[in-house]
């Protein structure tokens, strides 16, 4: 069977799987960004309990394997009466895992904001909340976006794992087609290509655009 005949027969299935992969990516991306922000700030808290909670969370999720966490959420949580749908379990596990890595990036970003900015905000009598929201957070974006972009590409790659808890994404479809047709080179090759195109031609340009936007907002970079 020629490659075009293969695409004609299985292309739609793979594309449908790609749509699910994109859904998983977008949902877990939103979740991980929120979690990173919260735990990144908590990690810098002066309250030892809040800081402790954040540290334990971050060390735990960075210390264990994503696949283990994913299986734990999907297969073990039902033992405690929490049954999540495969899609939700996948998004939750991805969000929690990448949130831990993201929190460290946020923490580094906040620490990298020059001290003078904190002092100036203090001198102007801004409340702590306003200081974080209006002065510090806008300035961390140009700092954290480049490492966050790398992390997001890693997230796209990691979404492939949700196939193992029966989410019907691109990887799942490729495996399925492989087990029916045994055209392994075609189906896994196509899946690899689709992931590559998603990363290089969609995700990375989008993140670069965000970086330029963030740099422009704080008056760096070209207008």
């Amino acid at each position: 069977m020629s490659y075009f005949a293969f695409l004609a027969e299985h292309g739609t299935t793979l594309l449908l799987g790609t749509v699910t992969t994109i859904k998983v990516l977008v949902c877990s991306m939103i979740l991980y960004v929120i979690i990173s922000m919260i735990f990144g700030l908590m990690r810098l808290s002066k309250n030892p309990i809040i800081q402790g909670i954040a540290t334990v969370y971050i060390e735990f999720f960075r210390g264990t394997s994503l696949l283990v966490q994913l299986f734990w959420v999907y297969y073990v949580l039902p033992f405690f009466g929490i049954s999540l749908e495969a899609f939700v379990a996948g998004v939750v596990a991805l969000g929690l895992n990448f949130g831990a890595y993201g929190a460290e990036i946020v923490r580094g970003g906040i620490l990298a904001v020059p001290k003078g900015q904190w002092e100036a905000a203090h001198a102007l009598n801004f409340s702590p909340a306003k200081r974080i929201k209006r002065i510090i957070i806008p300035q961390i974006f140009p700092i954290i976006l480049p490492p966050a972009a790398n992390l997001t590409v890693e997230l796209l790659k990691a979404t492939a794992l949700v196939a193992l808890v029966t989410v019907v994404d691109l990887t799942f479809e490729a495996k399925q087609i492989n087990s029916i047709t045994w055209l392994s080179a075609q189906c896994f090759g196509t899946a690899l290509l689709i992931y590559y195109i998603m990363a290089r031609l969609a995700l990375v340009p989008f993140l670069r655009w965000l970086e330029v936007l963030a740099a422009r907002k704080v008056g760096r970079g070209k207008a």
Partner: protein, 225 residues
């Protein structure tokens, strides 16, 4: 079915799990060793005089880096036999991990080489040292400490990605847990134990890498003690 964590069951499967942990450590070690060497080749491929070879090398690295390890595993495991190359799951897994993380390590090496100040090269030229001598005696001894933290991070990274090998049937820790869980129809204890074993091994390793990173930074004068 009994709810809650059953300690007797956990104790019963512990020897099996520990034995499988050994396999995980071996897999991570061998995969890492291959990745270290593959990384060198990718590094050399980036620094050839030919722009075309450098470009091709760049694209290969980018391709491997931006596609999931899981599908790469499937690709190697299912496609190679179609070309008459029959390899065991272990070999396939080691090759794939070596290739995948080799691309990351080549970036670590590159960053380390670029971290050596340009004036060092100029000084060596002024002293009429040969390129080989410059690399061996001046550049590499300075680049190596810069590369150590990155190299350590990927050792931990590989260790945490070894559970993926279970998908092609490598009998490592996660595979053992799934097998035991399926046999007894209890996943709570095996998967929890896998998580704990990973924590016990990788958190100290990650802390050690961070300490190493600090030592290197202090030695280079980037941060004060």
């Amino acid at each position: 079915m009994e709810m809650g964590f059953r300690w007797d069951f956990a104790y019963e499967i512990l020897p099996d799990m520990l034995l499988a942990t050994l396999n995980t450590i071996i897999a991570a070690g061998v995969g890492y060793a291959i990745a270290l060497v593959v990384g060198l080749f990718f590094l050399l491929g980036q620094r050839t005089p030919s722009k075309i070879i450098n470009g091709i090398n760049r694209e290969i690295v980018e391709f491997i880096r931006s596609t999931p390890l899981l599908i790469q595993l499937f690709f190697v495991y299912f496609v190679l036999p179609q070309f008459g190359i029959k390899l065991s799951a272990w070999v396939c897994g080691m090759i794939t991990i070596g290739l995948h993380f080799g691309t990351y390590l080549s970036e670590v090496y590159r960053g380390a080489l670029e971290g050596v100040s340009k004036t060092q090269w100029e000084a060596c030229r002024a002293l009429n040292f040969s390129t080989a001598y410059t690399y061996r005696k001046i550049v590499l001894p300075q680049a190596f400490p810069i590369a150590i933290p990155g190299m350590g991070n990927y050792l931990v990274g590989i260790f945490k990605d070894t559970p993926l090998l279970s998908t092609i049937g490598v009998a490592e820790l996660f595979h053992a847990a799934t097998a035991v869980g399926g046999y007894n129809y209890r996943y709570l204890e095996p998967y929890t134990m896998v998580g704990i074993i990973f924590l016990i091994l990788s958190v100290p390793a990650a802390m050690w890498v961070r300490k190493l990173e600090r030592t290197v930074n202090v030695a280079q004068g980037k941060i004060k003690q």
